[in-house]
Symmetry: C2
Subunit: 242 residues, 2 copies
């Protein structure tokens, strides 16, 4: 892990880093007693493009006394493009335009390889982040592609609570994996999200094995998560990581 740039923000330190050839960003609160819990900030890929929204979520975390970190997804941003992922994404988007919903096969071809490649990278990032002197567990995972969050929540024992955003398609084969998720969950659902199958999202919420799970659904489209729903997610992490 090599730090490549550093910005002092009001109450937080933002550091860019590389982990091998994977770029990432780490935010640490400057006025919280170290070491701090950590929230992994998921996203759909493209750290430059997504920076404003990712940074806003990270700053909420540091305000509540948590460190926050993210890494670039495979094939996204400055990482080498993946022709098969690009083809699968184009196919899925074409299906959305023409029929309004993608086939299971298109979802599988886009999401499953991404999950297979990304999840070990996030686990490696976690190894490195938790070795930093100012960061300790517990660890939360927040948002991003829900299938990546699902796999991480199901398989990474250091993640003890997760906020998942029902905002993308989940391969049907992963519904059974949801039973293996037993940590406290807070699931955000935008009720009118055009890029999401609401019924499928509700089935997934039902499938999670967690005994402590909350669905927070709000009117509005994909990017219209209301401020109070962000506040509720913050409080979820405060309950479970402190």
């Amino acid at each position: 892990m090599h730090y490549t740039a550093e910005h002092r923000l009001d109450g937080a330190l933002e550091r860019r880093f590389t982990l091998g050839d994977i770029p990432g960003i780490l935010w640490t609160p400057t006025n919280a007693p170290a070491p701090t819990p950590l929230i992994l900030i998921g996203h759909p890929g493209g750290l430059h493009r997504m920076y404003p929204r990712i940074a806003a979520r990270a700053r909420r975390a540091t305000t509540h006394g948590f460190a926050a970190a993210t890494i670039e997804l495979p094939g996204a941003g400055d990482r080498p493009p993946s022709p098969t992922t690009e083809q699968a994404r184009a196919d899925l988007q074409r299906q959305l335009r023409t029929t309004g919903r993608p086939t299971d096969d298109a979802v599988d071809r886009l999401v499953l390889p991404l999950v297979e490649q990304a999840v070990p990278e996030w686990r490696t990032a976690l190894d490195t982040l938790l070795a930093q002197p100012h960061i300790r567990g517990p660890v939360g995972y927040s948002g991003g592609i829900i299938s990546i969050g699902l796999r991480l929540a199901a398989t990474e024992p250091r993640i003890t609570a997760a906020v998942l955003f029902a905002g993308s398609y989940v391969p049907r084969s992963m519904l059974t994996e949801a039973r293996d998720v037993t940590i406290p969950l807070h699931v955000l659902l935008q009720w009118d999200d055009e890029g999401n199958d609401r019924r499928h999202a509700l089935d997934l919420f039902d499938a999670f094995g967690s005994t402590d799970k909350t669905l927070n659904a709000n009117t509005g489209g994909h990017t219209g998560v209301p401020e109070h729903a962000g506040d509720a997610a913050d409080r979820f992490f405060t309950r479970h990581l402190t």
Copy 2:
């Protein structure tokens, strides 16, 4: 409106009253600047039996600076019993035991007459409560039989925000009425509530006409609403009534 008993509580004054032959309870905060907003506390009927849960919700309201009030439902508690309601309730409960779900007809026979009789009573109570010198609007409605809350929210313009509890059966004819509800809504759903049709509850949430509506669904049965969900409902009222 005649006050019949008065208890000073820590930070609140609890007064029993009668409105005609309908018993009720009013809680007012003693340390908030009067006049205060008002929350109507719904319940399934039976003020004696339900008192601990109703009073706990009322005390949450007074803690947040609101007055809270409730009245007995028709045919419940100390009010004259209604043989047709009792028969309809017995029929519905028998169907629940034998087939696991009531017929639409059984739901209609139990709920529709109750809504028709209760809603005007709550509106009359509202007239009287808002005439008290220490109470003003805005007015919120909270919980109880969801069909009563739905009808009040759809037809009573003085109610400006409602917390509804998806915990009882709603006549199918009232789904269309849900379109007329346009005030901010916060709907609590216990995901594993045996006495509730989850799919029906989700359809109802979808049907509400409000552009500002939140579904807060949690694992657990009818009475297992987690503390944090109660807190979220409190915050909803604080956002909309203050």
